[in-house]
């Protein structure tokens, strides 16, 4: 079956521009997660959704970052006024539910480069 998909796979933008990153979770998965992977770092949690609600936004690094999820499916992560330190691979994952033992399935990521 189809896995988690993300688009675009690569995005190069200029400092100060806004970007939107998209995630399509596995069909039927109610929980969706965004992580960021920077060079030499592990995965840093950004935000997660249960349905269309975001119970935990604690990982968003600044108010330039926002995310939404509509119809319990597709999610968009928006970064406004991008900065060079935003350059990273942005990963999306989904799980059947958000129960502790649920496996999170990851997408291929979007590589964001801010010039």
């Amino acid at each position: 079956g189809a896995g988690v998909s993300q688009s675009p796979s690569n995005k190069v933008t200029e400092k100060g521009k806004d970007v939107e990153l998209r995630c399509d979770p596995i069909s039927g998965h109610t929980a969706l997660y965004w992580y960021r992977q920077s060079l030499g770092q592990g995965l840093e949690f950004l935000i997660y959704f249960q349905g269309n609600s975001a119970p935990d936004k604690s990982g968003l690094p600044s108010d330039r970052f926002s995310a939404e999820r509509t119809g319990g499916s597709v999610s968009t992560l928006t970064i406004q006024r991008t900065q060079q330190e935003d350059s990273a691979v942005y990963l999306c994952a989904s799980s059947l539910d958000s129960l502790p033992a649920d496996t999170q399935y990851f997408g291929p990521g979007t590589r964001l480069t801010v010039l």
């Binding site: 988690v4 997660y33 592990g42 949690f45 249960q50 935990d56 990982g59 502790p100 990851f106 997408g107």
Partner: protein
Amino acid sequence: AQSVSQHNHHVILSEAASLELGCNYSYGGTVNLFWYVQYPGQHLQLLLKYFSGDPLVKGIKGFEAEFIKSKFSFNLRKPSVQWSDTAEYFCAVKQALSQGNLIFGKGTKLSVKP
């Protein structure tokens, strides 16, 4: 705050050598533990997970991990590595009674020489 430590940044082995990658976490309560692998050019995949029961967990491709609660550890092992095991390995933890995100270590890059 919870954290996950992976002791080795880069491990280089020859084929058929045995592998052990260390993982320690800092949360004192009940946890669920995961190992993910990222092969070159591919996305993260689950290798194995522990959430209860037998502390020795077997995963895909001959990998196993042992949860030692007293040591807050969840080390990954494989008796004989292959060139195809070249990848980056990430340990992750989640509080057993919480919903939401995984806490990841910084990863260990494994290079296996043919």
